[in-house]
């Protein structure tokens, strides 16, 4: 079981939750499970080809999965996944 932290802009798609608990052996499996449970996230996280959108970063235990094994990165139980889209607000 891994915790997936949901950024504020995506919380409305998961019923307002700050985090959800998912099961999966890889980052891709966790994200696929997340999208299956909350279909509203699909277009926000993935391109039509099923790739992660480039404006969304995913971190596994604080490390960017792009520099690990991407969506194929193995996930250990109790690892934490953080989804982080860019934020612009400053004023």
């Amino acid at each position: 079981m891994s915790v997936v932290r949901i950024p504020p802009v995506l919380r409305s798609s998961v019923g307002g939750a700050k985090q959800v608990v998912m099961t999966g052996a890889t980052v891709g499996e966790l994200l696929a499970g997340l999208v299956a449970a909350h279909p509203g996230l699909r277009d926000q996280l993935f391109t039509p080809d099923g790739e992660l959108n480039r404006f969304v970063n995913v971190y596994l235990d604080g490390q960017d999965v792009r520099y690990l094994g991407g969506t194929a990165t193995a996930v250990q139980p109790r690892d934490e996944l953080v989804i982080l889209p860019a934020m612009a607000g400053g004023a």
């Binding site: 802009v9 404006f55 960017d64 982080l84 004023a91």
Partner: protein
């Protein structure tokens, strides 16, 4: 039996090892000993050995332990002529310092032998009082304060993030504060933009910020850039600044600023806020990632609304803005560990901070080795633009108007 001055001096000479200025310089150069200037402040201000510590003989018993905790560390004391340092060396020996020498002939002989010396920055009496809490911190001190007074920080936006950051950097004595903003003060700004006031609604933000800063600290020069940051002016506006504090509300400006700051080699202290949460990092060119390494393309507007759409708890940009001010000061003074390569996340509801590791993208079109080389030969790499070619076209206002 009472002792005369001559007796005391003779006794000190017999107990304390003396070194010549040349020997002192050699151990200083090799970093083998710390040189301590025991003269009065007025003498120190006329010039001193570069890198020496200043601990006046009048207070040396009080101050030495805080300045040099290791009693085995080699120390060379000097004064003007080599007498006061002999007596101070005796005192340190009594306190258990085991390797203390006195420089024969003092600073006078040092200078006549043509050895290097430097004149410390001098603050006015008023500045010494104003910045006294900084001067007490060894990592800042007079030299650090002088560096701040000589520094130039550019704020992109005098809004939620810029307002608190600007106030504190002005208070800290950052000598030149540039403000890019073309907006006017609106009533809805005052919930968080603490540099503006109720009686300035409708005034230009640049003017309002200037008035508050100058009322707080007349040392500060405020340079207003009352224009929207665009491709045609960004290079000119950021030129000459030491650090940029990014407090904008749009992706267009953030990418524009990033690309120009990387080329100009100016670090950008970046923050953004959304409701109860904030993100913060430092983009230090070529020493950590840039904004495009982190987010190569902008999100669609519905995924990244600004504060005017999504709302923000007023204290969140306050907290993030002050963390930006903290990073700016560290960069200016070259102290501590900057947030370059780390993204700090703040959650106000949980009252937690967490950290993510950021990396330079080896294929970044702006800061990678390939991008540097491409610019050198005059053929810069293409970047994802925010125009018609971008996956998502972001319309909307520039700096400050989306507040």
């Amino acid at each position: 039996m009472p002792k005369s001055y001559a007796d005391l001096l003779k006794e000190a000479r017999s107990q304390v090892r003396e070194v010549s200025p040349a020997e002192a310089d050699a151990v200083r150069e090799r970093g083998e000993a710390v040189l301590v200037d025991v003269r009065e402040t007025s003498e120190w201000e006329q010039g001193h050995v570069p890198g020496a510590l200043h601990l006046s003989k009048s207070y040396i018993e009080q101050d030495i332990e805080a300045a040099i905790a290791d009693r085995a560390r080699p120390i060379v004391l000097y004064c003007a002529g080599g007498v006061r340092s002999l007596f101070a060396a005796q005192t340190l020996s009594e306190m258990g310092y085991t390797d203390v020498a006195s420089m024969a002939g003092g600073f006078q002989r040092w200078k006549t032998q043509g050895l290097p010396w430097t004149v410390p920055p001098v603050l006015s009496a008023e500045q010494k009082q104003r910045y006294s809490r900084h001067l007490l911190i060894p990592e800042v001190g007079i030299e650090g304060q002088a560096k701040l007074l000589d520094s130039k920080v550019l704020f992109i936006g005098a809004g939620g993030l810029g307002a608190p950051a600007m106030l504190y950097l002005a208070a800290a004595g950052v000598g030149t504060i540039g403000v890019v903003d073309f907006d006017v003060v609106d009533l809805s700004n005052l919930q968080r933009q603490v540099i503006h006031t109720n009686d300035r609604i409708g005034d230009k933000k640049v003017d309002s910020a200037r008035r508050t800063i100058q009322a707080l600290n007349p040392d500060i020069k405020v340079v207003g850039h009352e224009e929207m940051l665009v491709a045609d002016n960004v290079e000119r506006i950021i030129a000459g600044y030491d650090v940029i504090v990014d407090g904008t509300d749009t992706f267009e400006t953030r990418y524009l600023l990033n690309d120009a700051a990387v080329v100009a080699g100016i670090p950008v202290v970046h923050a953004s806020v959304f409701r109860f949460e904030g993100q913060l990092t430092v983009f230090k060119p070529f020493d950590g990632p840039c904004y495009r390494c982190l987010y190569p393309t902008p999100p669609p507007p519905e995924l990244a609304p600004g504060c005017s759409v999504a709302g923000v708890l007023g204290v969140v940009p306050g907290i993030m803005g002050l963390l930006q001010a903290n990073e700016a000061i560290k960069l200016l003074l070259q102290i501590g560990d900057s947030l370059a390569g780390r993204l700090l996340l703040f959650d106000a509801l949980d009252a937690t901070f967490s950290e993510l590791k950021l990396r330079r993208d080896p294929a970044c079109p702006v800061c990678s080795e390939g991008a540097i080389e491409a610019r050198r030969i005059g053929r810069p790499l293409a970047v994802a633009t925010m125009g018609a070619d971008a996956p998502f076209v972001l319309g909307g206002p520039g700096i400050g108007t989306a507040s």
